[in-house]
């Protein structure tokens, strides 16, 4: 009796499963498989996880809309965890040779991006780099590596331009008279942004009166803050990671180090839970970063609702707004699904490459205000922009009590820069 009941039950279940399986839209072809590489363990875990979440949202959103426009093919990710560069290589190889993916995406942090792109290139696999910023990623003459995210240099320039165009008159000093200090965490990211600031600032008539790096394991910022206190900069540009950013802000307050304007670059200062960590102290800090939540007016009508939906979904899942790299990861994937893939027929890397090079997506057509225009990939080691996306939006936003508000460039700005000069700690 019971046995029979079980039998019929299992039968029903089986039927249900079959029904589910065959539920895919009629006529739809097999999904497009994309290998995604992100670090969700090891030292790069934080950013990697956030990128991965954003990329998944992009996949879900496109699939809910019936897959790639014009093809009705859904997108399927094949994920691999890449805690270290060595792992990144083996994992990329695995996705390509075992899972047979022809397209890879992600990797996020530069050391990983370098490894992943190298492995992908070796197999002539198309790599869509969503967040890695170091120039070396594309400077190695790869044919199939496309870096959608802005390079380190663009962050540096955004910071410097912002100082010149927005801060000088607010601080009531000419660019030449402005005392600018530069502080960087001495791993790849901090170093390359630092170098670019060093190179670009003089061109804009700024001079650096302080320029120091520090180790990732630093536990006491006293020396640095004291040095800064003694040189009394008007503007401080700091490239930091979350932990050291927090240490620095706390130490500045402790030693009452005051500066006219504080510009953090990405990573540490764009980290959304910085506010939970140091509370009101964040207000007033400028962040040179991927554009995050840009002025809707800057976005074209097609993308605006998409952007809003992304921000909502991300918030629901992570209980906080996305950081720049996450929203860049989403924007890059979305553009990949809606701008690049629809034009494809064979989905072979060679074809994708031609399409990518041909892409001409105006700024504001991507969820974070970016556009896409790749420079040529011919071997040109001296060419700084080589293989870069010239329309990747980098801007400056500010921690304000009302939220993280885009203040620069004016095209994307939703708010005016506030709290310049930055009130002394005693008044904050």
């Amino acid at each position: 009796m019971i046995r029979n009941a079980l039998k019929s039950f299992t039968a029903a279940a089986a039927a249900g499963v079959i029904a589910l399986l065959s539920n895919a839209p009629a006529g739809a072809q097999e999904p497009i498989r994309i290998g995604v590489l992100q670090a969700i363990t090891g030292p790069f875990t934080k950013n990697g996880t956030e990128n991965w979440v954003a990329m998944q949202i992009a996949r879900d959103m496109i699939n809910e809309r019936g897959g790639i426009p014009g093809h009705r093919r859904k997108v399927e990710y094949v994920f691999a965890d890449t805690p270290t560069p060595t792992a990144a290589i083996t994992e990329t190889e695995r996705l390509i040779t075992r899972e047979g993916v022809k397209i890879t995406a992600g990797s996020g942090l530069s050391p990983l991006a370098i490894a992943v792109s190298q492995a992908a290139e070796r197999h002539g696999v198309f790599h869509w780099e969503t967040a890695g910023g170091a120039e070396i990623i594309t400077r190695r003459g790869h044919k199939y590596t496309f870096q959608v995210a802005p390079s380190a240099r663009r962050y540096a320039e955004a910071a410097v331009d912002f100082i010149v165009e927005q801060l000088t008159e607010r601080l009531g000093k000419p660019a030449s008279g402005l005392r600018v200090a530069l502080l960087w965490e001495n791993r790849a990211w901090g170093k390359s942004v630092g170098e670019n600031v060093r190179a670009y600032a003089p061109k804009k008539g700024l001079k650096l009166i302080y320029d120091e790096g520090y180790d990732q394991f630093i536990t006491d910022m006293t020396a640095i803050v004291q040095q800064l206190k003694n040189v009394q900069p008007d503007v401080l540009v700091a490239i930091s990671f979350p932990n050291d950013a927090i240490l620095f802000q706390r130490k500045s307050k402790e030693l009452d180090f005051n500066v006219g304007a504080f510009i953090g670059v990405s990573a540490g200062y764009s980290n959304p839970d910085l506010r939970n960590s140091i509370g009101g102290m964040v207000n007033g800090i400028f962040v040179s970063d991927f554009a995050v939540q840009v002025n809707p007016k800057a976005l074209d009508d097609k993308i605006r609702p998409i952007a809003e939906e992304f921000f909502k979904r991300y918030d629901d899942q992570m209980k906080r707004p996305p950081a720049g790299h996450a929203s860049m990861a989403f924007s890059a994937m979305w553009a990949f699904f809606t701008e690049l893939l629809p034009k494809a027929k064979t989905f072979e890397p060679a074809e994708l490459r031609t399409i990518a090079l041909g892409l001409d997506v105006p700024q504001g057509a991507m969820a974070n205000g970016s556009g896409i225009k790749f420079t040529n990939h011919d071997w040109a080691p001296d060419q700084k922009d080589f293989g870069q996306n010239l329309r990747a939006a980098v801007g400056v936003w500010q921690w304000q009590s009302s939220g993280n508000n885009q203040v620069f460039p004016t095209r994307l700005a939703t708010h005016q820069p506030a709290m310049v000069p930055l009130p002394k700690w005693s008044q904050r």
Partner: protein, 323 residues
């Protein structure tokens, strides 16, 4: 399991298997796993010469690895010296550091020696990180991926696998020879009882320095080969404490004191952990490493002589002495 010194059937078979693995076409992913496994195994064997034979537990071998990697790469990229030569220069530099560490640590035993190696490696890492003009600093230094036998950059993966296998085989042969030689016997004696060894006419300091030098030398070669395969170096990767720990963990898991231990350790642990990451990594953040950690604890506490020892106990080896 093989006896100390003598080559056993087991090893011959193992080598045969590796050779066929190189010969037959296998998917690239497995080839990469093999390459990494071989390099790590070679370094583990090298580590074991100091750590297992003489009991000089080092948590700083990444320093030797990095010195090897950087020397051959810098010489190659900046001064056009072929890596085939650069490797040896790097190895010599590392060997020099090895000797120095052994002499510095002359009076240090157990944990104290461990910590000194850890600190030395950190100094190397921070130096590499900040000596930008030489090492390219944190942004690292890379080798143009243009196949060219002279630059030791190969078009086919298989060639790399073959080279790496050559490396392991060589290091294994050296370790094996040491084991059977009088130097090996002296090393074991110093490890087991320094006073007794000294009373038997052995100069412990000399033995320690020697072992450390050889170990560093061979480790550095592994570093250079890794650089050639990976074609990109940055200090936070090749000079990291994590790497040092890994080099020490493999022999510890495999079994210290015999050449077969580190070999088994690497050949079992490396692929398994790669697979663990591949299949659990995507599912549960960090689970694969947690498992690895737990496994390490169990092995160390209940099979102090490592996997090799465990297998031996399972009767895989000829039993020593009277029953």
């Amino acid at each position: 399991m093989p006896e100390r010194g003598s080559i056993s059937l087991f090893e011959v078979v193992l080598f045969g298997v590796c050779l066929t693995l190189v010969a037959v076409p296998v998917p690239h992913f497995y080839q990469d796993v093999m390459i990494v496994t071989f390099i790590w195994a070679g370094v583990a064997l090298a580590w074991n010469i100091a750590g297992g034979y003489v009991g000089l537990i080092s948590f700083g071998h990444a320093a030797f690895f990095a010195i090897g990697a950087y020397t051959s790469t810098i010489l190659g990229v900046r001064y056009g010296v072929t890596p085939w030569i650069g490797i040896w220069i790097g190895a010599l530099l590392a060997a020099a550091l090895g000797t120095t560490l052994a002499l510095i640590g002359a009076r240090l035993r157990g944990p104290f020696f461990i910590l000194s190696t850890l600190a030395a490696a950190e100094v190397v890492r921070i130096a590499a990180l900040n000596w930008t003009s030489l090492t390219g600093g944190a942004e690292g230094i890379w080798i143009a991926p243009v196949p060219n036998a002279v630059n030791m950059v190969f078009a086919s993966r298989t060639t790399y696998v073959a080279v790496m296998l050559g490396y392991v085989a060589a290091v294994y042969a050296i370790a094996k020879t040491l084991e059977g030689s009088r130097y090996g016997l002296r090393m074991f004696a110093v490890r087991d009882d320094e006073d007794a060894a000294s009373a038997a006419g052995v100069n412990p300091l000399l033995v320690r320095a020697g072992a450390m030098t050889i170990s560093a030398f061979l480790t550095a070669i592994g570093g250079s080969l890794f650089a050639q395969y990976f074609q990109y170096l940055d200090p936070t990767h090749v000079a990291s404490p994590e790497l040092s720990f890994q080099f020490a963990l493999l022999p510890a898991l495999g079994g210290l004191g015999t050449a077969i231990g580190p070999l088994l350790g690497s050949f079992i642990i490396m692929p398994v952990s790669e697979l663990l990451r591949s299949y659990l990594g995507a599912v549960f953040q960090g689970l694969h490493l947690a498992i690895f950690g737990g496994f390490l604890i169990v092995v160390m506490l209940y099979f102090p002589d490592g996997l090799a020892g465990a297998l031996k106990r399972l009767g895989l080896g000829r039993s020593k002495g009277p029953p």
